[in-house]
Symmetry: C2
DNA sequence: CAGGCTGATGTCAGTTGCTGCCATCACTAT
DNA sequence: ATAGTGATGGCAGCAACTGACATCAGCCTG
């Protein structure tokens, strides 16, 4: 990430990353499937956290409530790693390739949440809809949080965005 | 697309595509920025159609109504090109790289819809939320339509999914 | 302790996607 | 007829990856 920040993602070769880490290029590709994947190393932990949050909601919770708990948990985690998250996001935003990878991570996240909802007895397409909508709220809240360089904490922005969503779908 | 269908995306080289088209590899890259981009050639037309649908809704329409008109229009178009759409989707689903590209096209679509909503006086974050939610419904409805290899027409599936969404967000 | 197994790393060659540079060629405007 | 323009081809080269093989450290077993 240091290298990506200094010279930009495109201008950084895998050989340079490997050298900085004291490794060979070949070894780099044994740890990461991709040049892109380095930036998404922790994403599986975030996904596990969010899945856990959905799973541990009470049975009585609605699908949207369960998803709300997941993005709330994600908000807390990212708020803790605030500076890191912002720096990383700046790098991703600067590269189309990285934005693609980010989107597929979010899609995989939505899919995992939908699975979890289904295990709670939620039928399709409700499970997928709730999960996808939750991820949409997550994306927008996160973007707002990154922009307004300080101000509110992420979990609060998440809650506000979710409320706005309810208003939007209620009106339409 | 013929080649991708025959041998799979990964096993098809750009040289082969170019040869089949009677071109040089170099010329191929002058027409398409990417090996992936070939499969998304018509996507700008779909985006223009959806943007137009949002723009031509009456002032009184809510954001979600406007977005609903856009995915309805997309549904009609894709229903016309039913076989093509399904064949194309099978190829995309089989390749992670292509799925990434598809996701960024959808993200760009959401962004364009949000822009159009903003031009209609809708404020952020409502504009982005409505757009993203609309794309989520689009994704899910399309996936269902592709699965249930025949049955209902896409616009109908779109409407049903949107209704389910309203129910989901109303309960939560 | 010797020998063999395993897992992580290095080395090297090769393929493929993609780009820059220059030449060619058809077409068109004057 | 000439010059300018846009599309194409040819070629060289870089960088991301991959497969095959060698090496080496640690560790288990007899």
């Amino acid at each position: 990430m240091a290298l990506y920040g200094e010279r930009g993602y495109d201008n950084t070769t895998v050989a340079e990353i490997a050298a900085r880490a004291g490794l060979t290029e070949r070894t780099f590709f044994r740890h990461f499937t991709d040049k892109r994947e380095v930036l998404f190393w922790g994403s599986s932990r975030l996904q596990a956290l969010m899945v856990e949050a959905v799973a541990s909601e009470p049975e009585s919770a609605s699908p949207l409530d369960a998803v709300a708990a997941a993005i709330e948990a994600a908000g807390v985690l990212l708020q803790e790693r605030r500076d890191f998250a912002r720096q990383r996001q700046a790098i991703i935003a600067a590269s189309p390739e990285l934005r693609e990878r980010e989107l597929i991570k979010l899609a995989s996240l939505a899919s995992a949440l939908a699975d979890t909802l289904r295990q709670r007895g939620i039928e399709e397409p409700v499970a997928s809809l709730a999960a996808e909508v939750g991820i949409a709220v997550f994306k927008i809240a996160f973007a707002r949080w990154v922009e307004e360089s300080n101000q509110k904490a992420l979990p609060e922005v998440m809650r506000e965005s979710l409320d706005e969503l309810r208003a939007v779908t209620a009106l339409g």
